[in-house]
């Protein structure tokens, strides 16, 4: 009997604290798969955010630094410059990357730091209990915009990935999802490309993964994937925004 699929060795057996069906878990698994396939464990450094992925270091068996809220790109910049042959990546959520850490995100990308940024966009603050995020859609209800996001009260969703694509320091900017088998394969390819770019020092890579928060959205994982496809993907369309430094 041939084994056609098993979880990567680098994803250990610790039960992840994520809710059932969480996109974070799936992307952690992809990160572990890619690192293992590339064989770069001994020169990889991951930077975890503050947010749901704060405990990423418990699950993926490489060396990790836990950053202060929003500062992961600054941390990664330093690590990559000090260890130029290493693969250095951040793993961040929307609040961490596109709100409290917007400055660090844009500056690190614009400096062309040779890092990979994995950005999980689920349009909500999961860890703190479902508050409004910078990427919360117009009209979307959260615990701090219980009547739905309104422009006059809350401003607009931030298109951080589109901004990233305009920066000269980025070489690769893409938006993916993990809601079906085909999209998971695309996301994995994107992560691998971003990681390879870091090793090859091609500039900053930015992989947005449009994801779900079934607990925060108060849905089953299946419903959440459907809601994401119906509501988020029209607003955050999937595909490459920039490849090899060329805008698409």
């Amino acid at each position: 009997m041939e084994t056609v699929y098993k979880k990567p060795r680098l994803l250990n057996d610790v039960t992840m604290h994520y809710c059932p069906g969480c996109g974070h878990s799936l992307v952690h698994k992809l990160v572990a798969e890619v690192l293992e396939e590339m064989g770069v464990e001994e020169r990889a450094v991951g930077i975890c955010p503050v947010g749901c992925a704060v405990f990423a270091y418990r699950y993926v068996d490489i060396d990790w630094i836990e950053a202060a809220h929003g500062r992961a790109p600054a941390c990664a910049s330093a690590v990559k410059r000090l260890w130029p042959d290493h693969l250095v990546f951040t793993y961040q959520g929307d609040g961490d990357l596109a709100c409290i850490g917007t400055g660090e995100t844009i500056q690190a990308l614009n400096r062309g730091e040779n890092i990979a940024v994995i950005f999980i966009n689920n349009a909500i603050y999961g860890m703190t209990g479902g508050q409004m995020a910078p990427t919360t859609l117009m009209g979307q209800k959260t615990s701090t915009c219980p009547y739905g996001r309104q422009a006059d009260l809350h401003g607009f969703p931030l298109h951080i990935t589109d901004i990233a694509a305009t920066l000269e320091g980025t070489c690769y900017v893409t938006r993916q999802a993990v809601n079906n088998v085909a999209n998971v394969a695309r996301t994995k390819r994107a992560i691998r490309q971003a990681f390879q770019n870091s090793l090859d020092r091609k500039g900053a890579s930015f992989v947005e993964v449009v994801s779900t928060c079934s607990a925060g959205w108060k849905m089953t994982p299946e419903q959440a994937n459907q809601w994401m496809a119906d509501n988020m993907l029209p607003y955050y369309p999937l595909g490459d925004l920039k490849v090899n430094g060329e805008k698409k």
Partner: protein, 357 residues
């Protein structure tokens, strides 16, 4: 070599095998980054020099760089160091080595750009959250600025914690003759691996458990255990690393306690008072934490009164009073920054203490 204090920091960092400097311009310390930019150590020793987007980014670069086992530093001045407090707290919590050079200017807020010592409390007691300490070195000359860098690097790796060089705009900006330390090569990756087995750099991962640094611990009992272990380390530092210098204390009936720029002013005052026959000396803390509490306590027994001279509105004086524990009066004299105390004012203050006894 004739150098500014800030320039001496830059030269000394390169010569002490520093791996990386991450900083943001702010008066009166910008010469540190400027000097590094001119010296281009990335072409010689391979040292990384990066102008970051903010002090917030700088300190987090130091946090992460230190976490990988590299010898890294930043420098800033008062409002910038205020912005760094969060990162310093994280460094202390995760026991990460790193050097912060603080070239003080007057505050609060934007304050003045002239010299001040009004960040004594910020340095010694910290503005970040939690029960933590930072080793604070207090140079009072350009030579000591140069020397303190190597000492800070040694201490930060020995104790795995942030170390601060607390200087001020006067020492940072003044030019003096300085003998720079000899060149010491940066550590190789293999040396980093051997000396910092705790570090986050992937080296040897396949034959060891993964490393991580995190200050988060949801189990309160585990958190307390971590904190208690850190406190034990702090007690050991207090026992081992106190540094101070004495000036004419053997027969002193009165003593001044002053550090950094105000110690130089005080020395002038002591010379004038000695000429008038007053038996006065000075204790100069070279480490503000750990603080020379025990020696100051002894001076409290020996002297009729102690005087702290500071370029602030009275910060260190409270620590001196604590050390003296009521054995003799402890007075304070100072100006709040920019306006500097003169030796003559210090003489007048000391004479009034003596006359009012």
């Amino acid at each position: 070599m004739l150098l500014k204090g800030n320039e001496a920091i830059a030269h000394s960092a390169i010569r002490n095998g520093c791996d990386g400097f991450f900083g943001y311009p702010i008066t009166p310390q910008s010469e540190v980054l400027e000097t590094l930019a001119v010296l281009k150590p990335w072409e010689t020793t391979g040292m990384v020099v990066l102008q970051s987007e903010s002090e917030l980014a700088s300190i987090n670069m130091v946090y992460a760089g230190g976490a990988t086992g590299k010898c890294v530093m930043t420098s800033s001045s008062s409002p910038g160091v205020a912005l760094m407090q969060e990162g310093i707290s994280y460094m202390a919590a995760c026991e990460i080595p790193g050097l912060i050079v603080s070239v003080q200017r007057g505050g609060p807020g934007l304050g003045t750009i002239q010299p001040s010592q009004s960040d004594y409390r910020q340095a010694v007691y910290g503005g970040g959250n939690g029960d933590y300490r930072v080793i604070v070195l207090a140079p009072n000359s350009v030579q000591e600025m140069a020397d303190s860098v190597g000492e800070a690097f040694r201490l930060m790796f020995k104790w795995r914690m942030p170390v601060m060089i607390l200087s001020d705009g006067a020492i940072g900006q003044m030019m003096e003759k300085v003998v720079l330390p000899p060149f010491k090569p940066r550590r190789t990756d293999e040396e980093v691996r051997q000396q910092c087995p705790w570090a986050i750099n992937g080296l040897g991962l396949l034959s060891r458990k993964p490393n991580f640094v995190s200050s988060l611990e949801l189990d309160a009992a585990v958190m307390e255990k971590r904190n208690r272990a850190m406190q034990e380390k702090y007690r050991a530092i207090e026992a081992e690393e106190v540094l101070y210098e004495e000036y004419m204390l053997d027969d002193a009936e009165y003593a001044i306690v002053a550090y950094g720029s105000s110690s130089r002013i005080s020395m002038g005052a002591i010379d004038q008072l000695r000429e008038k026959g007053v038996k006065v000396g000075m204790l100069r803390p070279k480490t503000l934490w750990p603080f020379p509490e025990q020696r100051i306590g002894e001076l409290g027994r020996q002297c009729h009164a102690l005087l702290t001279v500071e370029i602030n509105e009275g910060q260190m004086v409270r620590d001196v009073r604590y050390a003296v524990a009521g054995q003799c009066p402890v007075e304070f004299f100072g100006h709040s920054g920019g306006v500097m105390p003169s030796p003559e004012e210090v003489v007048d203050k000391m004479e009034s203490i003596i006359n009012n006894r």
